[in-house]
């Protein structure tokens, strides 16, 4: 009986996740579409664009990889270094998810982490903050929101690549702002009150400063770590 109920809870969670992420996926799809267009300009076939989105599946990494892409002389070390550094935030995100999903069978959890991106991570945390849910529900919610985002990402990058001949300047349509809009909204969604002010202000100042003086995506790690550590130091003097 219990197992059946857990299964039911899980399918509800999956459905809720997919539903909550549907519109967010469209924003992600715009970004994927832009990636597709730019990949076409770099000489990627539709297959390559789709394959990269399927296997690498990290928008920021893919964009930066495109900017340093040179088919004649592939800078493998540079590409791998970029992939590692730009995706370091996934390490922090996985760390924050674990306590919520504790008890999920390891194989399932580690397979599920393949589709970990900012969007389904943030939505799952938000869900957890708004209402405490069973981990069956939450893990399925994570998978449901992740899967719809994943499929949209792959489809939109292929579509963008195919349409690449007809569209030249994606910035003109306001697509590039979709990313900021989404994360700003998610950020406001996870606010918990005044105790967040100091850590967030620290994170913001450090991130802005690092983005200004350091290359690459170091600013995310430095901002996130300094802000959260500041919060702990304040709470424990």
């Amino acid at each position: 009986m219990n197992r059946q109920r857990d299964k039911f809870t899980a399918s509800i969670g999956f459905f809720h996740g997919a539903k909550d992420c549907a519109m967010v996926s469209i924003a992600g799809g715009l970004f994927g579409f832009v990636f597709g267009i730019l990949s076409h300009a770099k000489g990627f076939s539709a297959f390559n664009a789709g394959f990269m989105s399927t296997i690498v599946y990290a928008g920021s990494v893919q964009m930066i990889a495109l900017s340093i892409w040179d088919t004649q002389h592939l800078a493998l070390a540079g590409l791998l270094m970029t992939a590692y550094m730009v995706s370091l935030r996934f390490l922090l995100m996985g760390a924050t998810l674990q306590p919520l999903l504790k008890g999920t069978p390891a194989l399932r959890a580690y397979l599920g982490m393949f589709i970990l991106v900012d969007e389904n991570w943030a939505l799952t945390l938000l869900k957890h903050q708004k209402a405490r849910r069973k981990r069956h529900y939450l893990f399925s919610y994570y998978l449901g929101s992740g899967l719809i985002f994943y499929l949209t990402w792959i489809a939109s990058s292929i579509l963008g690549n195919v349409m690449g001949d007809f569209i030249d300047n994606p910035a003109k349509f306001g697509f590039d702002f979709a990313f900021v809009a989404l994360f700003l909204a998610l950020l406001m969604g996870v606010r918990r009150g005044r105790r967040d002010i100091l850590p967030w202000a620290t994170a913001a100042i450090v991130a802005i400063f690092s983005a200004h003086v350091l290359p690459g995506a170091w600013y995310i790690m430095l901002g996130a770590l300094s802000g959260s550590i500041m919060g702990v130091l304040r709470d424990y003097h």
């Binding site: 990889a65 909204a185 991130a207 802000g227």
Partner: protein, 102 residues
């Protein structure tokens, strides 16, 4: 020119593997340590700080339209907590501004 060559596919696979490592490593580490109050506090502060760090540097490059849109997003979230409404409003404001003045 055919770009679907083995070395490109291999590059993607290696990049994917490295990123997957980051995806599972944080989860793995936390599952192996005993979570005390301090660590829990840190993990609770982390999400907001990650998002802040992702978003904040946008002030370095934002134009007027994007600033206005950002303020609208924050206000809508503050009063209604509706992610989609605020997001779509923000994108629409930027699109309209670019159409009118761009």
């Amino acid at each position: 020119m055919t770009t679907t060559e083995p070395h490109i596919i291999l590059t993607f696979l290696l990049m994917g593997a490295i990123i997957y490592l980051n995806r599972i490593l944080g989860y793995f580490i936390v599952s192996r340590v005993k979570i005390n109050a301090k660590l829990e506090t840190w993990l609770n502060y982390l999400p907001g700080c990650i998002l802040t760090a992702i978003v904040a540097p946008f002030v370095l490059t934002a134009d007027t339209a994007e600033f206005i849109a950002a303020i609208v997003i924050v206000m809508i979230m503050w009063f209604s907590d509706r992610i989609l409404l605020s997001m779509v409003s923000g994108i629409a404001i930027v699109a309209v501004f670019r159409y009118l003045f761009g």
